[in-house]
């Protein structure tokens, strides 16, 4: 299993993987989870927040894409502010440039079956916090069903609501932010059993790294 960090600096070389990401997202979020509002005839889930400023963290196993997540810094447009403003009544905890909006978290459904904890999901949580720390972020926002709160808090993250929960499509939904800290990363690592750095140490803004890949296990 490998974790890939795709940003403006390297996305040109990751065209195929990014394309697989859009197709898998459509299958998961539209076909399986029924988000009809984002259905597209070409079967690709791609929107305004997948532009050059977006960062993707993708997990592969061999040649197959098995999980992913997307991040947009709050100094630009975010899904949170554009699509879910009704869920947000509280201010962000720090200036917008110090946070990112975390969206389109997924693990391929066949990897979640059985009673084990999906390592793909564990890798995405660890990589999320590593990425946030490496960018110097103070907070990461998300919109999710409120079940995410239990999972995140049980792993030792501090999660603060940005507004009251609301029923959206019959599901209890919440906007919230996760505190970014070394302690949170240590807690997530302990909870998931991940002991090592998943993301490569790179300067995203100035250098093109030879390859943005780190092995797991």
């Amino acid at each position: 299993m490998k974790v890939h960090l795709l940003g403006a600096h390297n996305r040109a070389r990751y065209g195929d993987l990014l394309e697989a990401n859009y197709k898998l997202r459509h299958r998961i979020f539209v076909d399986l989870q029924g988000w009809e509002a984002i259905r597209r005839p070409d079967g690709r889930d791609v929107d305004a927040f997948d532009g050059p400023d977006a960062t993707h963290i993708l997990v592969t196993d061999g040649d197959e894409l098995v999980g992913g997540s997307r991040f947009n810094c709050h100094d630009g447009p975010t899904l949170l502010q554009a699509v879910f403003p009704g869920l947000v009544t509280e201010p962000l905890p720090a200036p917008p440039a110090l946070g990112a909006d975390w969206t389109r978290f997924y693990v391929r459904p066949d990897r979640r079956e059985g009673r084990r904890r999906a390592p793909e999901s564990a890798a995405l949580f660890c990589a999320m916090m590593e990425y946030a720390l490496s960018r110097g972020y103070a907070f990461i926002t998300f919109v999710s069903t409120i079940y995410m709160v239990e999972l995140g808090v049980s792993m030792g993250m501090r999660i603060v609501p940005l507004g009251a929960p609301a029923n959206i499509d019959g599901k209890p939904t919440l906007a919230a932010w996760i505190e970014v800290s070394e302690t949170a990363l240590a807690n997530i690592r302990r909870a998931t059993g991940m002991s090592q750095m998943l993301l490569p140490v790179i300067d995203l803004d100035t250098r093109a790294p030879h390859i943005a890949v780190a092995g797991l296990y």
Binding site: T89, E90, G114, R115, R116, R117, A118, S121, I146, Y147, V149, E150, L151, G152, V153, S154, M155, G156, R158, I159, V160, P161, G163, A164, P165, A166, N167, P172, L174, N187, R190, A191
Partner: protein, 240 residues
């Protein structure tokens, strides 16, 4: 958002022991008209519920009764958690009182303890594990907004307790399952000591040593001393 709720959520996440969360949670659910609660994982059939209990705000007598008689496996409310992701009133956890006598017994005994009515929040965890946050009291006055708030509150408490239970030491779990004295006696028993020898080592009377074993046996739902030692080791209540 309601500032009381925000500060409750903040307080829950700052606590480092279940005992501290107990008072905060009592205060929070009291504001919605609930008097008692329990927060627990739900064991597979046949397993003892005690190692799964995260925090009990039940009357002691009912807690003892419910856990030592394996009521969790008969309780229609616990059963209903497996079939829904949304919170529900206990009255929605239906059973046939004419054929399902064990379920009826649990519900009738709960009633005798003044626990007629309640509101339960199922917790579905990664990997198929199942938990419950059960509030005792009438849910009739709850509007959609309050139900959502309680749902969120329950998930925060469950998550924090789960974190504390797995963080570093396992003392919170140990304390609730068997007492320190019982653990000490079982450790010596695991090392092959007789009750008489344990009495000499610990300075307790032989009768007290035997009583500790009997108490631990009742709490773990085991059949004899060897079985008790095995279960205590298996649940990591004692380490050798």
């Amino acid at each position: 958002m309601n500032s009381d709720l925000m500060s409750t959520i903040d307080a829950i996440q700052r606590q480092t022991s279940g005992e501290d969360i107990l008072d905060i949670f009592f205060g929070a659910i009291g504001g919605y008209g609930f008097e008692r609660f329990i927060i627990s994982g739900l064991p597979d059939r046949g397993q003892d519920v005690r190692p799964f209990v995260l925090l009990s705000g039940w009357p002691d007598e009912w807690y003892e009764r419910y856990t030592s008689f394996g009521y969790v496996h008969l309780d229609p409310v616990a059963r209903f958690c497996f079939s829904t992701t949304l919170p529900f009133e206990w009255s929605a956890a239906t059973y046939d009182p004419s054929s399902d006598l064990p379920a009826r017994r649990v519900m009738e005994e709960a009633r005798d303890f003044g626990m007629n009515d309640g509101f339960s929040i199922p917790v579905h965890m990664e990997g198929g594990m199942q938990g419950i946050v059960s509030l005792v009291g009438s849910a009739h006055a709850l509007d959609e907004h309050s139900r959502l708030e309680l749902h969120m509150l329950a998930l925060y408490a469950h998550g924090r307790l789960r974190y504390l239970n797995t963080a570093g030491d396992e003392h919170p779990r140990k304390r609730r399952a068997i007492t320190r004295r019982e653990a000490e006696v079982l450790k010596w028993a695991a090392n092959g000591k007789t009750a008489g020898e344990i009495a000499v080592i610990t300075g307790l009377s032989e009768r007290t040593v035997n009583q500790h074993c009997v108490n631990a046996q009742a709490k773990l739902g085991t059949k004899n001393r060897t079985h008790t030692v095995v279960e205590a080791i298996r649940h990591k209540l004692i380490t050798l």
